[in-house]
Symmetry: C2
Subunit: 477 residues, 2 copies
């Protein structure tokens, strides 16, 4: 007899004769009530065991974490909180779980302890919900772009190009480190390495993505990217997933429209598909915040915050306006900022971004037209000669969630900029080809997927929204 | 005025006043007819230039590869082969393309030359089609699993676990190779490396995926995997994308059903969405095969072959039956095989797999129940004590496209097997936890995504179905 998923049993429109469910015991009360979960939903199904006709030995083996198969009728539940339950006729223990040793006890564990047990934390309500939400959000990303005719492009993970300078890179090698081959000059002979050259893990697929956008029109990437930066913060991972759309003929305004529409779509989609999980996560967050002083608690509950993003346009503010606002702000005047904003040209720190988003505008903000010298070489220079067509999207509680720009499409201007910055033209010959042959205005952005998952789940540490986080000194599993 | 995609113009249900299209010139005939492509479809739109009222200078700049914007009326075409064309009223050159220098000339290029220009080959008909098909196939993968309630899991790319032994691994490090830190014993001090240990690029997400399946029930991965193997063949890449579903409570038969249903779904989906591209690729293949001797040509045209896979069940054959068939086969008796099959236990080579699929069964084949000693440690031992519940799916022209198994769910049997093979229990403590706590029957498989793209596009070299192939001595772009 084929088993039925718990989600389908709970969503049944009528009682059913003889069903089979398989899953893991969450709790077992009064020698009678199993709360059974199979991962298909955050909700457990109650299985009522006929304890008088079940052997003592079997009852003892119904422990938290044990895998069981139950067969019986799906009947209306007399208990509160559930419509249906299974009146168990046959129970089989598939796999035991020693109650003393199973690390996921039915009690509250610290997030730190759960991270050390990343292979088991997904058996808890919270992490089951987070991982389902993450999965649905991923699918929403693909759905959005595919519906609009974008082509999904897998840009390379191992790359010989390290010119972008988006961050520190990990080296990839098949050379024996304890016996490195040397060339005549006594340097490491990378000709003997697997790819015949020095290679790294990608920090962004943008440059390769641009070459595809200039042929296919609208493309997006969605893959892992890497930073070898020693940042032990709640917002950084060494390995994270990034979404990078790139669109030929889009200018910066089109780019902002796309980013806003995209973010609203994926949040809306996920709210529709993951209502139960998000409701649970909202409750979890409220509970957690009870221990915080009133001033540090969120002004909005999780679902209210998500709805707010759907219902309000992102505030579009130029860098120059933002500097004026910050310069005149109370924390700047009272020298409460760690970095005081004195003049135009200053790079914005996260304290400034948070002020703009959380205090001043109280909404997601798109900052645009940044000073050229604090942004990357490939961004389109404005006619003023000092700002570039860059944009960052800032979210409450998260900070920067999107960074993008209109790209410099003019060959001469781009080459001149690369020269000034000492970026090797020969290494990026293929990138420059897009400007040599049939160049055109185009734009794109990068969105750090885990930051989006953080926002949607209401979690506060990025290590809790990816299955197996990679951070300094940690690559377990 | 916002431009309209070429695909939408060609699919228009009526003529239109004043439209704008942007794209790249494929050809320019008779100083009058631009074939314009924007990547949204394999089909070009014909743009008729009013050459008598266009300056000589502008006409000269309408060259293959140039980016242009055309505005005019969408009218019924007088020419053959297209329903609509644009009667151009206004033409703007967005980006020139020097006809002498543009590498993608309107003529046939060798696949090798195109690989060296992977950033531009996507501007050809064939590679535009391949990349659109690849994208739609990717989406079909996600659609299939999400509809069935599977959870998408991003297993780690950088891993500290190297016990699986699926193949040679690339090392990932942030240590300075020209100045490696040493410990007291004079060995490389990996405690000083980014993750505090020796790390590699993943060869498979299966083991981590299993831990999630034992909580969420049904999961799948779809991400890059790596092999540092010096295989310069048309079927191997150093970096490729793999799909790995894993399902709790599935046995090997369920696993076969899933794999077959999944493959049929994604092929059907792609045939529906990519009819134009596949028709083009079918024609391309027919053309290419004309230069081959009759005996080497495909027996079926591309679409016929794809339909064959949809309409026929995959033939399920045990390893033992396969050995009998091979032992009695003509090429074995006539010693035409390079490796003669004499007895049960022999590992099958690709010549044997091809014989079974292409000559004997003439259909996709699922081989199952392999000898334990030629398969991985985690596969479920059969009651005969000498075979394991493994399965490989073999496709015509491709060879192995899927490898999977029912997993060994019994703690003691698994640990014993690991001991025999010298696999460190302590390193896989987390994997063994799935068998310590609530173990259950479960199964999964891995499908090499590029091999699927090869099959669906009818291409013959795997380097031609991924945007930027990574192979020995090649990590350009």
């Amino acid at each position: 007899m084929r088993h039925t998923r718990v989600k389908d049993l709970l969503n049944s429109t009528n009682t059913l004769h003889e069903v089979n469910a398989k899953g893991w015991v969450r709790t077992f009360r009064n020698n009678q009530f199993i709360a059974l979960n199979d991962g298909s939903t955050i909700n457990n199904i109650q299985c009522v065991v006929d304890f008088e006709n079940t052997s003592e030995e079997t009852l003892k083996r119904i422990t938290t974490g044990a895998a069981v198969s139950v067969t019986g009728d799906l009947v209306e539940s007399k208990g509160a909180g559930q419509k249906y339950e299974i009146q168990v006729k046959k129970l089989e223990i598939l796999g035991d779980s020693d109650a003393e040793k199973f690390p996921m006890q039915p009690k509250k564990h610290s997030l730190e302890f759960l991270r050390e047990n990343a292979h088991l934390r997904v058996r808890t309500n919270a992490f089951g919900a987070i991982m389902r939400v993450r999965s649905v959000l991923s699918y929403a990303v693909h759905s959005y772009f595919q519906q609009k005719g974008f082509v999904y492009v897998n840009t390379p993970i191992i790359t010989g190009a390290d010119a972008e300078g988006a961050g520190e890179m990990f080296q990839v090698t098949s050379l024996p480190l304890d016996n490195l081959p040397k060339n005549e000059e006594g340097n490491i002979d990378y000709k003997k390495d697997f790819f015949g050259k020095h290679t790294n893990l990608t920090v962004s697929g943008q440059l390769e993505g641009e070459t595809f956008a200039m042929a296919l029109g609208q493309i997006y990437t969605f893959g892992p990217t890497f930073r070898a930066e020693n940042s032990n913060t709640s917002r950084h991972l060494a390995e994270f997933w990034m979404i990078e759309p790139e669109v030929a003929f889009n200018n910066l305004n089109d780019n902002m429209d796309l980013a806003e529409d995209f973010i609203q779509y994926v949040i809306k989609y996920t709210m529709e598909k993951c209502a139960d999980d998000l409701k649970f996560l909202e409750g979890r967050l409220l509970e957690e915040e009870k221990s915080k002083p009133q001033a540090e608690r969120s002004e909005m509950a999780l679902l209210e915050k998500l709805n707010f993003v759907l219902e309000n346009n992102f505030k579009r503010v130029s860098y120059t306006e933002a500097i004026d606002i910050l310069r005149d702000s109370a924390p700047n005047k009272k020298k409460k900022f760690q970095y005081i904003i004195n003049e135009w040209g200053a790079d914005l720190q996260s304290e400034h971004e948070r002020y703009l988003v959380e205090k001043h505008f109280k909404s997601p903000v798109i900052l645009f037209d940044y000073p050229a010298n604090i942004k990357a070489f490939y961004m389109r220079l404005n006619e003023d000669g000092k700002t570039v067509r860059a944009m960052d999207i800032l979210f409450p509680g998260i900070g920067e969630i999107v960074g993008g720009s209109q790209r410099e499409e003019r060959f001469d201007v781009l080459v001149e900029k690369m020269k000034v910055l000492g970026i090797d033209e020969e290494e990026l010959w293929w990138y420059l080809d897009t400007r040599r042959f049939g160049s055109a205005v185009h734009s794109g952005f990068g969105l750090g997927f885990e930051r989006l998952v953080l926002f949607v789940t209401g979690m506060t540490n990025i290590r809790d929204v990816i299955p197996f986080p990679r951070t300094p000194q940690n690559a377990e599993f």
